[in-house]
């Protein structure tokens, strides 16, 4: 027993974990390595290498161009599975394609062009950089006013602040359901409702939420969303993203990148762009098939575990991390930089420490704990419930305590921060 929370407590949680068996369905190349960066790149599902080999050797190598008959709507099939099992949408409302940034660009562009009388875009000043830059570019190109809401770095966006900024000039609100840094979880239903009262649209980024917390796009009246598949969905590095457009809205929106995968009778190759009425109108072109294929077996695991059970375990993991932070880390100069309790955030949490960067490097190099650093001074810890044991969180926090206590971190070379 150490400092009030015995390792046995974590062992008991592991023993009672209904998702414990899922860990075996991932590749654990180094059992000693504690991986708490599932919120950045999820682990490799054990079924993925064989599935990829099949796609590469049989479908590409053997079937060659003929395999496109079965590949061409794969993004739509994955989208329907995401809709049913992960994001609470209807069939035909989600499709997998491009990157999160490109999808954000397409949907934000479409929404802005569909609201010609309105001159303001609202966003969170602390949103993930690519979201901020994409929206900034669109606003500048269209001569719109960009209003960046000053959100709390640790606590997330205050809905009163959002409410006070919403008026009938607002065309679009772009927000992340779960903050990439603090993990703060917004109330999707409440935000959608606030925006609706002034006739503004909300475009959600679900990257840090999908596969970690229940999302109910249909039930909360969400109209637009995008997100990535390589975090809690374990689709692999840079796996294609998804986009969601509420069915009733699809035909009236026209996205700016007019590609042939959105075209009616695509292979008739007609002279003018004439997009299909459905979700495929938001597609552009040929998807990166191998990266797309890797999403398939990964999604199966999330479907089988079920987001409700994943969330239930995620809350327990989060509570354990909070408790250990309180007893072990706060005395060493750490401060929680995430909302508490865990119900108010996604599956990751942030810790503030002035030496966060050095601690992160030292943990990885000397203590076999991988988490990550985010500017300016945050250690980000993302225990993905599908494969993270409670004892791993306990051990990782114990190692973190050791590293922080001895204060002999790896030093920070000038300029190195930019590649971490």
């Amino acid at each position: 027993m150490e400092g009030g929370i015995p390792r046995a407590a974590a062992e008991e949680l592991d023993a009672a974990d209904p998702l414990a068996e899922f860990r075996e369905r991932f590749v654990i190349a180094d059992p000693e390595l504690i991986y708490l960066d599932g919120n950045s790149l999820g682990r490799l599902p054990a079924a993925t290498p064989d599935r990829l080999r099949e796609v590469v050797e049989e479908s590409w190598g053997g079937g060659l161009v003929r395999s496109w008959q079965g590949w061409i709507d794969w993004g739509g099939r994955l989208g329907d599975r995401l809709a049913e099992h992960v994001l609470g949408a209807r069939a035909g409302e989600i499709v997998v394609s491009d990157s999160t940034s490109v999808n954000l660009y397409k949907l934000a562009g479409a929404a802005l062009d569909a609201a010609p009388g309105r001159g303001t875009v609202l966003m969170d000043a602390e949103d993930f950089p690519t979201n901020r830059y994409v929206v900034q570019g669109l606003a500048e190109q269209r001569g719109l006013r960009l209003c960046r809401l000053a959100s709390d770095l640790d606590g997330g966006l205050d809905l009163d602040l959002l409410r006070s900024a919403l008026d009938r000039d607002v065309a679009l609100v772009v927000l992340s359901l779960v903050s990439y840094r603090s993990g703060a979880l917004l109330d999707m239903a409440r935000v959608n409702e606030l925006a609706r009262t002034v006739g503004a649209r909300v475009l959600w980024d679900l990257s840090h939420a999908a596969g970690a917390v229940p999302v109910d796009l249909a039930g909360t009246g969400a109209e637009l969303a995008v997100g990535c598949t390589y975090k809690y969905l374990n689709g692999g590095p840079g796996s294609p993203a998804y986009l969601y457009v509420r069915r009733e809205l699809q035909a009236e929106l026209r996205q700016p990148v007019w590609g042939w995968f959105g075209q009616r009778e695509q292979f008739q190759m007609g002279p003018d762009y004439d997009p299909v009425p459905g979700i495929e109108r938001f597609l552009v072109s040929t998807p990166p098939l191998l990266s797309l294929a890797a999403i398939d077996p990964a999604l199966t695991l999330v479907e089988q575990a079920g987001v409700a059970r994943i969330r239930a375990k995620g809350l327990l993991l989060g509570r354990l991390a909070d408790d250990l932070t309180n007893v072990w880390l706060t005395p060493l100069g750490f401060r929680s930089a995430s909302p508490r309790p865990p119900e108010q955030r996604g599956s990751h949490l942030s810790l503030h420490h002035p030496d966060a960067w050095q601690i992160c490097q030292t943990l990885a190099a000397e203590a076999k704990v991988v988490c990550d650093y985010r500017v300016p001074d945050r250690l980000r810890i993302g225990p993905s419930p599908l494969y993270t044991r409670f004892t791993e969180v306990w051990d990782a926090m114990a190692r973190l305590r050791e590293v922080a206590a001895r204060r002999t971190y790896l030093s920070r070379p000038a300029g190195l921060a930019r590649v971490t």
Copy 2:
């Protein structure tokens, strides 16, 4: 001997082929299948499955998020190799990212925004559909006049027509170096020069040219180009595309999709978009890594064979196909729908026949020859020089003659054309 061209002539060409050994470096799953659709999806290089397994199992499975240290500039490294060995550009002028359509959108958008006083975009009315649609969308969004040059379906774009359309109102000309349908090859140097005389920019699509014909972006004064990697470069289904921006032009162009991969000090995550001055400013976000990885071993083959030798063999393959068409197919109602001689086109050719669709289907289903169909009545034949034998072209044309002669094709079900 059949109809004047003995099979032995093809056998002799195979025996003398300096690239013959390269066929063994591809997966030939069914040796009886003749694959003449390398212009649509190139074959699987034999080294690719192992390379992918390494990236998946070791780098993703073992290295996890830490592998991004080595991955993050992979698109740039591939770009530099394309520049040196395939496209005649300088280091730092090409990067692999996104899809051809998205890259076209980015570069066309950047070029248009950099020419505010000009109101016209020129393109080829017969260009590949996605190019036409993307440019149409950009022109419409910016209120520009879109001028579609009536190109010859078989012979390609007449440069006199282009010259007569070029004036000082033209901001941008978008053209494919090799036509996707007829294979017509444009004179890049001449076009660049014509455009330069009126101060217009040219954006080239190199999809059907790269890895098939020598391209000299630097030497011809090309400023902008995009293209795909899954045809003659054998990068795999939907493998990421590349984009080229001449070094002197990079800092003055700003592309419309402001993603964090273009940002200076990317991981500082600063408040405002402030793109790097170099080629990375045209990047958007996290690339689909597995699809990107597959380009690596494929590119090695092209580098080792060398584009000059690939082109030399491509010309001989084309001449053989032309000769066989003359003696065997013309009497059966076929007409060449490509420029002749082969020097005037890329590595594929088109044949016109009123029953082209049925013939294409029958060839694949009953004669083990895969080529493809393009509206309205074209059979497209793309013998990729790296792995196609001269005897395969001879055998395929013989089988094509048989199928066409007996006139008992598979019938064409209503509506099926759209998925071929």
